[in-house]
């Protein structure tokens, strides 16, 4: 589904992605973790070309992103992206946030688009918020709407860039629950997150990054029980018991 082959990226002189090789299969749930500045956000932002790569090859659903002939807008419509800061459109209601792209890109009628949006709002547990504006919702609710917005395009892949990092602790659970349901439905997901509970319970594979490279790649039980790399051991120690 997604294949990185020797991918490099620089921000000026900073080597943010250094020889990334990774293959994510259809239906797989992959959690990416690592210290801040390790390149994990950049990694998933390259998948829908928010950050173009400088070197190597990146294939998404069989199409080469660096190929000039690839229609990037069309590609992006097949990839849902959920941001740390939600990025809902503040001037539109919850319903319009979800229906905008389906009406413009999928050419759904308003009635069909709204019906579909309501189905998704029920799925994320917020049908009664259809006419609310984003500023009237809590962070957790906003993030669930953002997930519904991503799902409205019926994407083949969902990407999550630290979806719970901007949330108050009591709202993290509701968002993770929605993501868990999504994972169980067979969606291909890449999640940048430090939610180790989610990673342990839901993911098929954990990727540990630092300094722009993938240092470790293992199924969750293996990663938590027996991390190979020193940096991974240190990271796990810090994240599981931050007081030490």
């Amino acid at each position: 589904m997604i294949r990185f082959e020797g991918v490099h990226k620089w921000f000026d002189k900073l080597h943010v992605l250094n020889n990334i090789n990774l293959h994510v299969r259809s239906g797989e749930v992959v959690v990416v973790c690592g210290p801040s500045g390790s390149g994990k956000s950049t990694l998933i932002r390259t998948i829908n070309d928010l950050e173009p790569i400088n070197e190597g090859k990146l294939l998404v659903d069989g199409k080469d992103l660096s190929d000039k002939k690839t229609d990037i807008n069309k590609m992006r419509a097949e990839i849902g992206f959920v941001f740390q800061q939600f990025n809902l459109y503040p001037h539109l209601t919850v319903l319009r946030n979800i229906t905008l792209a389906t009406m413009k890109i999928r050419n759904l009628s308003r009635k069909d688009a709204e019906e579909q949006a309501m189905t998704l709002l029920k799925r994320v547990g917020l049908p009664e918020k259809r006419d609310a504006y984003p500023s009237q919702l809590s962070g957790g609710q906003q993030q669930r709407v953002a997930i519904a917005r991503g799902l409205a395009m019926k994407p083949k892949i969902m990407l999550f860039d630290e979806p719970t990092s901007a949330l108050d602790p009591e709202m993290i659970g509701e968002v993770l629950q929605v993501m868990k349901d999504l994972a169980l439905s067979g969606m291909t997901m890449i999640v940048v997150s430090h939610e180790m509970g989610f990673a342990r319970e839901v993911s098929h594979r954990i990727i540990f990054m630092d300094f722009g490279t993938i240092l470790e790649e293992a199924p969750p039980e293996e990663f938590f029980k027996n991390p190979q790399h020193d940096r991974a051991k240190q990271f796990l120690k810090q994240i599981l018991s931050p007081m030490h």
């Binding site: 928010l50 419509a77 097949e78 990025n87 792209a101 413009k104 890109i105 504006y133 009237q136």
Partner: protein, 233 residues
């Protein structure tokens, strides 16, 4: 008589102040001032929007070209732009341009340049995540601009727009220099004819300018309130 001032000169020429020789002759006075202002306002809104969008374009040629034009106009006094248009446009078009349209073109050019900076600032002031979220759903850059960025940016721009327009309404008074019979020109005419009441005449037109600008500012406040989307509870 008010404090030694005699406003009968205003009363005697009231209709001349407001509409010039209209309907027997051309429109003048306050009527022409409003006409110049409203037409230039509409045109410079469009001009400012286009120039502003070009100045944030991803095409380097368009971006630098528009920025050069904006900086050139901003670096000139308005009076200079008016003279330029007054002497240049007839030469370019082979005559046939009324003085009023000279002023409209000059004001539009001048105000568009300032408006475009407001537009540019408004667009770049919208958080980057909005554009990213929009294009992530598959919208093109242009669609995202139209449906997501501009509606938010334009709301934020209203106060600056109004500022610019109010200052433009006052700038229409410079039209008197090329003989357009708007309010200031009419006042000068009446003053030259009567010779005795400059204070009364210029107090009167100052009040008129104030009322127009004040009304416009109030209108925009109302608009701003109406367009404000609900803030956090």
């Amino acid at each position: 008589m008010i404090g030694g001032l005699d406003f009968s000169v205003v009363r005697d020429n009231l209709s001349y102040f407001f509409i010039g020789r209209y309907p027997k002759g051309p429109l003048g006075g306050v009527g022409l001032t409003l006409y110049l202002a409203v037409v230039s306002l509409a045109l410079s809104f469009i001009g400012g929007l286009i120039l502003g969008l070009l100045s944030v374009s991803r095409n380097r040629l368009l971006r630098y070209g528009s920025m050069a034009a904006i900086q050139t106009i901003r670096g000139m006094p308005l009076l200079m732009v008016i003279f330029w248009m007054f002497f240049l446009l007839p030469a370019m078009l082979g005559g046939g341009m009324t003085a009023s349209w000279t002023i409209i073109v000059a004001l539009t050019l001048f105000t568009s340049a300032y408006m475009s900076e407001i537009v540019r600032a408004g667009i770049t002031g919208i958080p980057k995540g909005q554009m990213e979220a929009a294009i992530s759903t598959g919208l093109s850059h242009g669609q995202a601009m139209i449906h997501i960025i501009l509606p938010q940016a334009l709301r934020n721009m209203i106060p600056s727009f109004v500022n610019q327009f109010v200052s433009m309404i006052k700038d229409t008074s410079l039209a008197f220099i090329v003989g357009v019979s708007e309010l200031t020109q009419i006042a000068t005419q009446i003053n030259n004819r009567t010779m005795l009441y400059p204070t009364e005449i210029f107090i009167f037109i100052a009040v008129i300018y104030f009322i127009i600008c004040f009304a416009f500012t109030e209108l925009s406040r109302w608009l701003e309130r109406r367009l404000a989307y609900r803030k956090a509870i």
